[in-house]
Subunit: 231 residues, 2 copies
């Protein structure tokens, strides 16, 4: 009796991961590094980006932004003033709106972005401390912004989000003197869920720490060190 | 030929609404009014509750709390110090955790609550400005907390959340003098998405506005005015 050989396929990716890999391939071909910027609503992602992008071109890094929001283009409008390519992606297609970006949403925006002209694409996710961490979009690195007005307990209450990132920005430190906020306690909680993760104290308002953040962003394309694949 | 009569059933509820109605029936039978407390992470829901519940018993209102969190029981532990019945509901059963409470999760917690001994149940939802607004849990009223550190644009960016509530608490007003925050602009944005919705300026830290919030909570069972249905 003749039997055909049965091939066992393991580790089947879920649909999101399959599309994230397709995005990743496109980013590699274009030679663009991608960061996924995540936080709770109002933690200051957009303002930090405004400060960091302003001056990034001087480092020779050509940056673009993909803005994710349930509705509207308020943040994209702000960032467009910096003369970088900005595309707005709204998630309110169905129901009350999606609370996160996924690989497929990002993929639908790629044709609107001049990937070949970029070194760095920053994807600003929907403000949310749960679901954005569950959906890879094909990014090289994930940045988590938490602000000192949110309380020290957030890493313990939303551990996946604080684990699934390479850099934690602790924003609004200019307000520390007006708050009962214990930075050491926040850092201990952070280390409890993600020991040793890189972190920076920053203030989008005063600019404190923004140079270090800008340098970090400028290094992402270098660290990825992917020579563009010839098409 | 004999035909049976065909009955057309319209307006089929989705599963969540069906379970929310079952919860509502149970709340009615027990004569307990229910509020759903929602906000972004770190807006100050728990601290406001601590301040408001402390003293509510003096108004003759017997309150209990159902705490929703992805993980941990930090907030429930804090509230248990107030000697009110507190039940913690964690949403991290699968994947990275659910970003909201739904009617079924709340229903699973009901046997742990002494409903017959309560006049008011406060359900503190998971911190998130998108999905909690999409899932009714059988509540009488919804309260939305936004803090002045989150920026004036939030009603425009998360309109469903600001529409799906009967009261908006604008928290952390003690920080206003340290922020570039325009309260009038926030209120205009709020009125743009939910004209005339009741709103209160509060500070969980200083206690400003907390008496008014406590009075509002005390009135929920009165306004519902549902005499307990004899079982």
């Amino acid at each position: 009796m003749h039997r055909t050989k049965v091939r066992v396929v393991e580790d089947v990716l879920d649909a999101n991961d399959t599309i994230a890999r397709a995005n990743r391939d496109d980013f590699d071909r274009a030679g663009v590094a991608v960061v996924n910027l995540m936080s709770a609503p109002g933690a200051g992602k957009t303002r930090l980006l405004e400060r960091a992008l302003d001056g990034l071109a001087a480092s020779g890094v050509r940056a673009g932004v993909l803005e994710g929001d349930v509705q509207g283009s308020y943040d994209a409008d702000r960032l467009s003033l910096l003369h970088v390519p900005v595309v707005q992606l709204n998630t309110d297609g169905g129901f009350g709106g999606e609370c996160h970006l996924d690989a497929n949403m990002v993929r639908s925006a790629l044709p609107s972005l001049p990937l070949d002209e970029l070194d760095l694409l920053v994807v600003e996710n929907v403000g949310n401390l749960v679901c954005p961490a569950e959906f890879r979009i094909g990014e090289d690195a994930r940045i988590m912004v938490c602000s000192v007005t949110e309380g020290e307990d957030k890493p313990l209450k939303y551990p996946l989000m604080f684990r699934a990132c390479e850099l934690v920005l602790i924003n609004k430190v200019d307000l520390l003197e007006h708050l009962e906020f214990d930075v050491d306690r926040l850092l201990a909680n952070l280390d409890a869920v993600h020991p040793g993760v890189e972190r920076m104290l920053v203030s989008a308002r005063t600019g404190e720490g923004v140079d270090a953040f800008r340098d970090w962003l400028a290094q992402v394309p270098v660290r990825m060190a992917r020579p563009p694949t010839p098409v």
